[in-house]
């Protein structure tokens, strides 16, 4: 039985004429669908969801809205249009024409990069599969599904690269991405953060703000790659990733807005009274920020990394906005200031910039997160509240890299393990915090236009639709 894949898979990669690729994807597609049915959003198979589908890479093509049953979603394969005469922007091949085939010597590391990135995409769908049952509104439910479906598409994008460029090994890796599952003790996802569950909607907003933002920076650095199909794929994915972070940024903003409303109504800043009124107090939000920021920092890896340096020199993975950086893009003799934990102290020192490529990406990420925090603080200021959110110190609560051996407070003081165990509950969500948050989210709010007690409605609906639009039709 042949499936007309070209019709089912919108693409700009000539799928119709590529027999080899078609054959490969035909065998993978059923596995993908069965994975989606087993581990995609719980109970959602028959819902008609108001989704955006990318059908081409043109300005008007990537955002087509319509009601779709998710298993019938047309997961497309799109690469940003090729740039005429593009050259490799960094590393020792800088200035050479970009590769349109995988260079033999870089086959293994490139595959590794793609697999590591690809593995995170289905992982987050798995992490979030139960959230639909406690959605704070139909609007949020639709957004959750949009993100899920797009993570699925990002998986497709990575699988396309594996199938198209990496032969049998690539196909095996594509299979494995459906065999590993988030939190599975026997076959866990590759990166630790993607094996943690996303237990509630506050965590979900935090995840889309902090952890998906890591994705943005990883994709941005892969979008610089000398392997052009990877660069073009990632550039297209970035447009969608932007939407995921929008959910996080606005989601947290809406929670803060709601809390401020309650504080104003009750004329109190007492967390207990705020909680009693069904909103989430600001200190709890800060603890969630501390947690999600610190675990996301770990995703950038070690401060000084030979692998990252090798990827850079080889021209496989660049820095964030490589072309806007004013240097030689080879870094053979450059230095970069890196904050490390040495001799029980936090110290900044000059390090080989090549080895510090990860750290630079982390620095860029921290600056981007700070911009989001600043926006939230404007809400507090507008509401005449003195409280301000802040990002914890980069060494706080880390398990990877130089700080993993240290106990560091949110404001960057080195403390003992004993002090840490006494005080960490002031900085990280406690069991009581999590139970309280979960208690606000016992069942989904599914009436169009209604919102849960702990979150304000958004400023506007999706694609110009009103807030009480029926974004999801249940059957």
């Amino acid at each position: 039985m042949s499936i007309d894949l070209n019709a089912r898979i919108p693409n700009n990669v000539d799928l119709a004429d590529d027999r080899r690729l078609r054959r490969a994807l035909e065998s993978w597609q059923p596995s993908f669908l069965s994975w989606w049915k087993d581990l995609g959003p719980e109970g959602s198979i028959d819902y008609d969801v108001y989704l955006r589908t990318a059908i081409s890479v043109e300005a008007d093509g990537w955002a087509n809205f319509d009601f779709v049953k998710m298993p019938e979603y047309r997961w497309g394969i799109f690469l940003a249009p090729p740039e005429e005469g593009r050259t490799i922007p960094f590393g020792e091949h800088k200035g050479e024409r970009v590769w349109n085939e995988v260079p033999g010597e870089y086959r293994a590391p490139l595959r590794r990069l793609i697999v590591t990135q690809g593995d995170t995409e289905p992982a987050s769908v798995e992490q979030q599969r139960l959230l639909g049952l406690t959605a704070p509104s139909m609007y949020d439910l639709r957004n959750l599904f949009q993100v899920n479906i797009e993570e699925g598409r990002h998986l497709w994008a990575m699988v396309y690269l594996l199938h198209a460029y990496f032969g049998r090994d690539g196909r095996d890796e594509a299979e494995s991405m459906l065999e590993r599952h988030s939190g599975d003790p026997d076959k866990p996802r590759i990166l630790g953060a993607f094996n943690e569950e996303t237990p509630d909607w506050l965590s979900y907003y935090m995840f889309t703000f902090f952890t998906d933002r890591d994705g943005k920076f990883q994709l941005s650095s892969l979008a610089e790659s000398g392997f052009d199909p990877l660069a073009r794929t990632c550039r297209f994915m970035l447009t969608e990733e932007g939407h995921h972070m929008f959910i996080g940024t606005t989601g947290i903003a809406r929670v803060i807005t709601r809390t401020c409303e309650v504080m104003k109504e009750l004329k109190t800043e007492d967390p207990e009274k705020i909680r009693a009124a069904g909103a989430i107090d600001l200190a709890t939000l800060q603890r969630y920020i501390n947690f999600h920021f610190s675990v996301s920092l770990d995703l950038f890896g070690n401060e000084l990394s030979t692998n990252a340096a090798n990827y850079y020199t080889a021209g496989l993975k660049g820095r964030y906005e490589e072309s806007k950086i004013d240097d030689d893009h080879q870094l053979n003799n450059d230095i970069y200031k890196v904050i490390l934990f040495e001799d029980e102290k936090i110290k900044q020192s000059d390090q080989n910039a090549l080895l510090a490529v990860n750290e630079r990406l982390r620095d860029d990420y921290i600056a981007d997160c700070q911009a989001g925090v600043d926006r939230w603080n404007k809400i507090l200021k507008r509401n005449k509240t003195d409280y301000r959110f802040s990002l914890p110190h980069r060494g706080f609560n880390r398990s990877i890299g130089t700080f993993s051996d240290a106990k560091i407070t949110t404001d960057g003081q080195v403390i003992s393990g004993v002090d840490w165990s006494k005080r960490s509950r002031d900085w990280l969500p406690t069991r009581e915090d999590r139970e309280f948050v979960r208690s606000l989210m016992t069942k989904a709010v599914i009436e169009p236009g209604k919102f849960a007690s702990w979150v304000a409605p958004p400023g506007r609906g999706i694609n110009g639709q009103p807030l009480d639009f029926e974004y999801v039709r249940f059957h």
């Binding site: 595959r111 065999e179 003790p185 590759i190 030979t306 340096a309 090798n310 020199t313 090549l354």
Partner: protein, 573 residues
């Protein structure tokens, strides 16, 4: 000569044990309580040897032992553990090698260490680690203490080579635990700790698949690792620890080792080291730094008759054959690593042939006793260590010597031996004799699987048969010469000159040329995995270690970790 030593005998160790403060010498003595990198635990008849390398504790400066990578110090502990498991734990029938870090089994030899080490340190390091892996195989094959490996994370390079030395390899099947030999693509060198050889010769992995495996940086995991016979079994995480222990238990229960005896504690070896001396209870070594000679004097057993086998466990380390094995082992390791300028080792002995022979008879008659078996195996390994030392070996059979049986092996392993014909004029000591025992005919096989006497007389097998008839006869120089057992038999008029010229001539030759020549002449006869590892693999590795593609300014070893790419000279040599 022994007077100076006596006063040290009761003191807790000489300077040798704490040499790092006073010299740069490496010490080979340690014990489980002092391990920095391994944890040895015992559960019934199963032992677990878990690697958890302390990255800050290194044998030289300039590198950190990240990700369970190792340097010589880590391997010295591993060697110590294998020795203690044999002698101190007769009850242990199976040893699990694993890691105490999550997701990392072992990353192999530390690359930074290799990059900054001198050539001779690299060679010595590789030789020692190779010997340790052979010890592990020897325990599995001959001590019935079976080593198995539980790879609970990434095993790269030397990490997987360590696994290859064990008898059964289990790999965690979690989608990310991989095994790999990335030396060639990553570092432009070889998996030289037996990796290439064991892959195709021991595990009989198809050579085309081995080619793929050894050029794939990220390695292989899961089902394919089993299909290609790179591992024996893959086990999911939820069942891993339980399955590993079950396997170990099954193997342990199969062992013939006794469970109801106490074992022999390997007490700290007492060694006195000074600038030009290295003395222990039965071996004194004088270093002649002018001529670059180490003069060994080995003392035979002093008691008139050997103990009975029942007394052995009580005697423990004081039992002469075990004491000799330990002292010789330690001395060889020390001289190889810390005295690389000393190019010639000269062996002499002092004692009575009959006493050595009596001990040999005890060993031979009780070779199925677990402890006797261990002692014979230890002597075998120690003699093999001498075989592959890149030093010129000379044995002098002089009046008062006791080159009998086990000690006669020193005559056979030497590149040349000189035996005095007759007595020294003006001395009262009778002319020297040598004596063959049963132990010379197969108890101490060389790496080629043959006894030393068979190897030496490879072209005259009838002489080996003839020699068997001479067992326990005291042979004078002429008889020894006729039997093909010694090289030259000068009389007392020629003796001094002959010996002096032999030593001086040796000292004048190129050390490299000598090492190469000796290594090629010593191992006549068939190839085995061991001869291939030490002859072929190590030789290629040592060549590659000298080449600019590995160690030049832009060589892969030098640039590893900098993020810069090596520039290869593309010429095939």
């Amino acid at each position: 000569m022994w007077g100076g030593l006596a006063s040290f005998m009761n003191k807790k160790s000489g300077t040798f044990n704490t040499p790092r403060k006073e010299s740069n010498n490496v010490t080979f003595q340690t014990c489980p309580d002092d391990y920095k990198h391994w944890k040895l635990s015992i559960d019934g008849n199963v032992a677990r040897l878990a690697m958890k390398v302390n990255e800050k504790v290194t044998i030289n400066s300039g590198y950190e032992l990240k990700l369970n990578s190792y340097d010589l110090g880590v391997d010295i502990e591993l060697y110590d553990a294998t020795q203690r498991l044999r002698f101190e734990h007769p009850e242990v029938g199976c040893v699990i090698i694993s890691s105490d870090y999550p997701n990392v089994f072992c990353a192999g030899a530390n690359i930074k260490m290799l990059g900054i080490s001198s050539h001779d340190h690299k060679v010595n390091f590789c030789k020692f680690t190779n010997e340790t892996r052979n010890c592990i195989e020897d325990a599995t094959n001959h001590s019935y203490q079976r080593y198995i490996c539980a790879i609970n994370g990434t095993a790269a390079g030397g990490g997987y080579e360590l696994a290859l030395a064990t008898d059964y390899i289990m790999l965690l099947d979690d989608g990310s635990s991989t095994i790999s030999l990335p030396e060639l693509p990553l570092l432009a060198v070889l998996p030289g700790t037996g990796g290439l050889t064991r892959l195709v010769d021991k595990r009989k992995v198809r050579n085309d698949r081995a080619d793929v495996f050894c050029t794939t940086v990220e390695g292989i995991r899961g089902k394919r690792a089993v299909e290609w016979n790179l591992v024996d079994e893959i086990i999911p995480r939820s069942k891993f620890d339980k399955t590993v222990f079950e396997r170990a238990k099954t193997y342990a229960d199969d062992s013939d080792r006794p469970r109801d005896v106490a074992g022999v504690k390997l007490q700290e070896l007492i060694v006195f080291e000074s600038d030009n001396q290295l003395n222990s209870q039965h071996i004194s070594i004088k270093l002649d730094r002018q001529q670059n000679i180490a003069e060994f004097l080995i003392t035979g057993p002093e008691v008139c008759s050997p103990p009975t086998v029942e007394d052995l466990e009580n005697l423990g380390c004081d039992f002469w054959p075990l004491a000799i094995a330990r002292e010789l082992d330690n001395a060889i390791m020390h001289l190889r690593l810390n005295e690389s300028n000393i190019g010639t080792w000269v062996f002499r002995s002092s004692g009575e042939n009959s006493k050595v022979a009596a001990y040999d008879d005890l060993l031979y008659a009780n070779q199925n006793n677990w402890l006797v078996r261990e002692i014979i195996l230890y002597l075998k390994r120690t003699l093999k260590r001498i075989d592959i030392s890149s030093r010129s070996l000379l044995t002098l059979v002089e009046p008062g010597s006791c080159f009998s049986g086990t000690l006669l092996e020193l005559v056979f392993l030497s590149d040349r031996s000189y035996m005095l014909h007759g007595m020294m004029e003006g001395e009262n000591v009778p002319a020297p004799t040598i004596q063959l025992t049963n132990m010379n005919f197969g108890s101490y096989p060389m790496a080629n699987g043959l006894s030393r006497i068979t190897t030496r007389l490879l072209g005259e097998p009838e002489k080996v048969e003839n020699a068997k008839k001479l067992i326990n006869s005291e042979l004078d120089a002429v008889e020894a010469d006729n039997a093909g057992l010694v090289t030259f038999i000068p009389d007392d008029i020629d003796w001094d000159d002959e010996v002096r010229i032999a030593v001086e001539e040796r000292a004048a030759f190129s050390p490299d040329g000598l090492s190469g020549m000796e290594a090629n002449l010593r191992f006549a006869g068939p190839e085995t995995i061991e001869t291939k590892i030490f002859g072929r693999l190590s030789a290629w590795q040592n060549w590659i270690f000298q080449r600019p593609n590995a160690v030049g300014e832009n060589g892969a070893l030098k640039l590893y970790g900098t993020g810069q790419r090596s520039q290869f000279d593309k010429q095939r040599v």
